[in-house]
């Protein structure tokens, strides 16, 4: 059996304009700096049970700045 896959979120800092949608739909997965721009919390790993939130963060970002990567 292969290892269960890990999901990670990542924010492309060049695209993020601080709309705050990712943080609003998945508060634990993202952190904001003092200007309101986002980055992934910690190493970006998505804890079990938050997969849907991660995908909503991606599909609600108006700048297409959120990626969800399967490892």
């Amino acid at each position: 059996m292969p290892n269960p896959k890990t999901l990670r979120v990542r924010v492309d800092a060049n695209k993020c304009q601080g709309h705050n949608r990712c943080k609003a739909v998945a508060p634990e997965l993202f952190e904001l700096d003092e200007y309101g721009n986002a980055r992934a919390s910690g190493d970006g790993r998505v804890p079990p049970g938050q997969e849907e939130m991660a995908s909503l963060a991606k599909s609600n970002c108006p700048e297409f700045a959120v990626e969800v990567i399967e490892e």
Partner: protein, 392 residues
């Protein structure tokens, strides 16, 4: 405006001030998206209109060919009154924007929520006993005016003055330059007095924050501070007023959505995003500064482009059932607050105001309907200006 020549054809002769467009622009945009996604008119000295999300996005992202030095389409080009960051392009834009961002982050705005809630309830108290109200005049327009005054630690009752200036600058000022300059002067003097006072007695307010902020590493000049204050006042009031008004208008006509929000207040944040999408209030503009082409259409320098975030938000290629309000829409990349580097600085404030305004209204007055003629504003910001309601 009276006496505008009738529109011959929406693809080649559109007029965003035409009564049909002002009353119900959505079918016009749906048609344009199918037949002529980038329309052009000779009116207003030449304007393009993009109705697809992808094209609106392409224009918003392309600051090299499309400049923000003119962001409003008018009959005649007005005197240029720079209002950074909204009228700036890179590289100047960034510094002006960075100054404004910290006091408007989601965390900073969260602290204002209790005041917003109390304020909404004070307004509701004033009309709930009458069995009806004009929700545009007595509710929607009061919320952003009083809250921005609160943030600046100015008298909340000065709201009438703010709306008078905004009306003179954004509407009367289009044709009457004297009124425009007078209003800008009055506003500047009003803020200058407050700035002097905050220099003596700094507080925990937005004006004191700006006085201590740094711009490109240097302290802000009084002129910078006054420019920021003018912009925040002008950008934050009509826009949020329109967003709140359109949301209430929808809920007054759609009992099933209203009842759902009464039963599930937790749905309000998602509902507010959908109402922002469906009734996005703000259409900006850009000036073409270098020839370029997008989606097969050539843009000529000197002409304007209407940057219709509202039309982008209704593009069925990006939003399934785009023409419907789906009150629990989960995937919603809407562009009501713009796209790219000019993303609305006040979006967290506006969202909070919208959520609180809707939540408190349906909590206190769960059953209401329209009660008379609704009128809509025209031009840059679209929303109800008269919204008579009857409560059940």
């Amino acid at each position: 405006m009276a006496g505008r020549p009738p529109v011959k054809d929406w693809s080649t002769d559109f007029d965003h001030l035409d009564p049909a467009w002002v009353a119900d622009p959505f079918p016009i945009w749906d048609e344009m998206r199918k037949t002529c996604p980038i329309a052009h008119t000779e009116r207003f000295n030449g304007v393009y209109f993009a109705s697809r999300y992808a094209d609106v996005r392409a224009v918003a992202y392309d600051t090299e060919h499309f400049s923000s030095r003119r962001v409003v389409v008018r009959e005649t080009p007005p005197p240029r009154i720079p209002a950074p960051p909204i009228t700036s392009d890179p590289p100047e834009h960034r510094a002006a924007r960075m100054v404004l961002l910290p006091p408007f982050t989601a965390d900073a705005i969260k602290k204002l929520e209790p005041r917003a809630r109390a304020l909404c309830n004070e307004l509701i108290d004033s009309f709930v006993g009458r069995g009806g109200c004009d929700a545009a005049v007595e509710y929607a327009q009061e919320i952003p005016t009083r809250l921005i005054a609160h943030m600046m630690d100015l008298p909340e009752g000065d709201g009438d003055l703010y709306r008078k200036w905004i009306h003179e600058i954004l509407e009367v000022g289009i044709t009457d330059q004297r009124v425009l300059m007078q209003a800008v002067g009055d506003m500047t003097r009003y803020f200058a007095a407050a700035v002097e006072q905050r220099k003596q007695q700094p507080g925990d307010d937005l004006i004191s924050y700006l006085l201590h902020a740094r711009f490109n590493g240097e302290p802000m000049t009084s002129d910078n501070v006054l420019g920021c204050l003018r912009l925040l006042l002008i950008a934050g009031i009509d826009t949020t007023w329109s967003g709140i008004g359109s949301s209430i208008w929808h809920l007054a006509r759609t009992p099933q959505d209203r009842r759902r929000l009464v039963a599930e207040p937790g749905l309000v944040p998602i509902a507010v995003e959908e109402l922002l999408r469906a009734y996005a209030p703000v259409t900006m503009a850009r000036e073409v500064v270098k020839q370029t082409s997008i989606n097969g259409c050539t843009f000529e320098p000197g002409q304007m482009v209407l940057l219709s975030f509202p039309a982008a938000c209704r593009d069925p290629e990006v939003f399934p059932n785009a023409e419907k309000v789906v009150i629990d829409r989960k995937e919603n990349r809407h562009a009501a607050f713009g796209l790219g580097i000019h993303r609305c600085v006040g979006s967290n404030l506006a969202r909070m105001e919208l959520m609180v305004a809707v939540e408190e209204l349906v909590k206190r007055i769960p059953e209401f309907c329209l009660d008379g003629e609704v009128t809509w504003s025209e031009g840059t910001v679209r929303g109800p200006r008269k919204l008579p309601l009857r409560f059940h």
